[in-house]
């Protein structure tokens, strides 16, 4: 079980969280120490990669920031790539837990998508380093990371695809539509993160929602959902 939650549940910065985590030797069970070390390494990796980029982040710097010995780093991970992939996995797993908790599968499909997109954009705003790792740096960290990024996009396709029942002409829609929509949203967020505009990402919700819903429910209903989102943001 992850010790942190993505987004709303955790408002402290990663640096603050690192400062609160106990370094060094303690009279505590070995498993706890190992877990704490691992968590510190992953948090340091996330913060450093988001700040400096994957290529300019070194293992020495990760160990120093996490306040662990270099040998401790290698007890947990074979190399920088393995550590990055673990940081990516923990972030996406934590995000998946939040989605599972906040999206009610008994709601209308359009409401589920509206909630999912709102939660996603909120997470990107509140957990910018993790979002940067998953959306920006995963595309610059080698083939395994790139494959994970692609898998992340593909993981949202089934939920979007449920919307096809709402379009009587759905058989015409391209097979890859859902992954393409996910890719389009990810690229938009990517551009905002690279431009240092994470704080404004939540404001994108109405247009993101409209574009996402239109193929399934048409532009009129999608427009209504976007207007409702606009009203929520204004409130």
């Amino acid at each position: 079980m992850l010790w942190y939650r993505v987004g709303m549940a955790e408002s402290r910065s990663i640096s603050e969280r690192l400062a609160k985590m106990p370094p060094g030797r303690h009279l505590v069970p070995r498993d706890y120490v190992a877990q704490s070390q691992r968590d510190r390494i992953l948090l340091a990796t996330t913060e450093l990669v988001a700040e400096r980029g994957y290529q300019k982040t070194t293992i020495e710097l990760i160990a120093k920031t996490a306040r662990v010995a270099l040998s401790t780093f290698y007890e947990h991970f074979d190399d920088k790539e393995a550590c990055f992939l673990a940081a990516f996995d923990e972030s996406t797993e934590a995000a998946a837990e939040v989605f599972a908790e906040l999206i009610d599968p008994t709601q209308d499909w359009t409401d589920q998508i509206a909630t999912a997109l709102e939660v996603f954009l909120e997470m990107v705003t509140n957990e910018t380093p993790r979002a940067t790792v998953c959306i920006v740096e995963s595309q610059a960290a080698g083939p395994a990371a790139l494959a994970r990024y692609q898998a992340m996009l593909e993981s949202v396709a089934p939920k979007l695809r449920e919307g096809r029942v709402l379009n009587p002409r759905a058989s015409r829609l391209p097979d890859g539509l859902e992954v393409a929509i996910a890719g389009g949203i990810a690229w938009l967020v990517h551009q905002r993160l690279v431009a240092g505009q994470a704080g404004q990402i939540k404001e994108l919700l109405p247009e993101v929602l409209q574009t996402t819903l239109t193929p399934y429910v048409g532009e009129v209903e999608a427009g209504r959902a976007a207007d409702a989102a606009r009203a929520r943001i204004a409130a």
Binding site: L146, R172, G176, A180, G183, G184, L188, Q191, Q210
Partner: protein
């Protein structure tokens, strides 16, 4: 004293930029022909498709390999996609009230189009000579002409 030899990354970027310049030149030229935004989308899409189809290994380098080539390569790719978003953003004038949509819609569409091309090229569509232009046009016009009109584009026969 001779200058240092360019790094692998610099050589990659130089090759990428050369291909990108040719690609953009051909798409721009096609775009300038027709008058309406809708016809321009088709013309530019057709030029892009032909460019990809005529040399699949070049297309793979241009579309797929650039992804795993580091942050600078990503930035070069993103400049190209922002150019695509500029073209798509003209679709706002097709709306009853262009103010209802911002440039971010064009960016989503550009990202979706790129994602579609990436999937198709990775999957070997170019080698199989499969045409997916109508899917790209669908993504381009969907936010501006609406679902019904965009679906109509999917019925257009591939151009050969």
């Amino acid at each position: 004293m001779s200058a240092a030899a360019p790094s692998a990354e610099e050589r990659f970027l130089a090759a990428y930029d050369e291909i990108a310049a040719e690609f953009c030149g051909r798409v721009r030229a096609a775009w300038e022909g027709p008058v309406s935004w809708h016809d321009r989308i088709w013309a530019a899409g057709w030029a892009a498709m032909r460019f990809l189809q005529e040399d699949p290994p070049r297309a793979r380098f241009f579309v797929v390999d650039v992804n795993g080539a580091g942050s600078r390569a990503q930035a070069h790719r993103d400049r190209l996609l922002q150019g695509l978003a500029d073209l798509l953003d003209g679709g706002r004038e097709e709306l009853e009230d262009p103010r209802t949509v911002s440039r971010c819609t064009a960016e989503i569409a550009a990202g979706a189009i790129y994602g579609t091309i990436l999937t198709k090229v990775k999957g070997g569509c170019l080698e199989r000579r499969e045409d997916f232009l109508s899917e790209l046009v669908y993504m381009a016009v969907l936010p501006y002409l609406g679902a019904r009109a965009a679906e109509g584009e999917l019925l257009v026969q591939p151009l050969r």
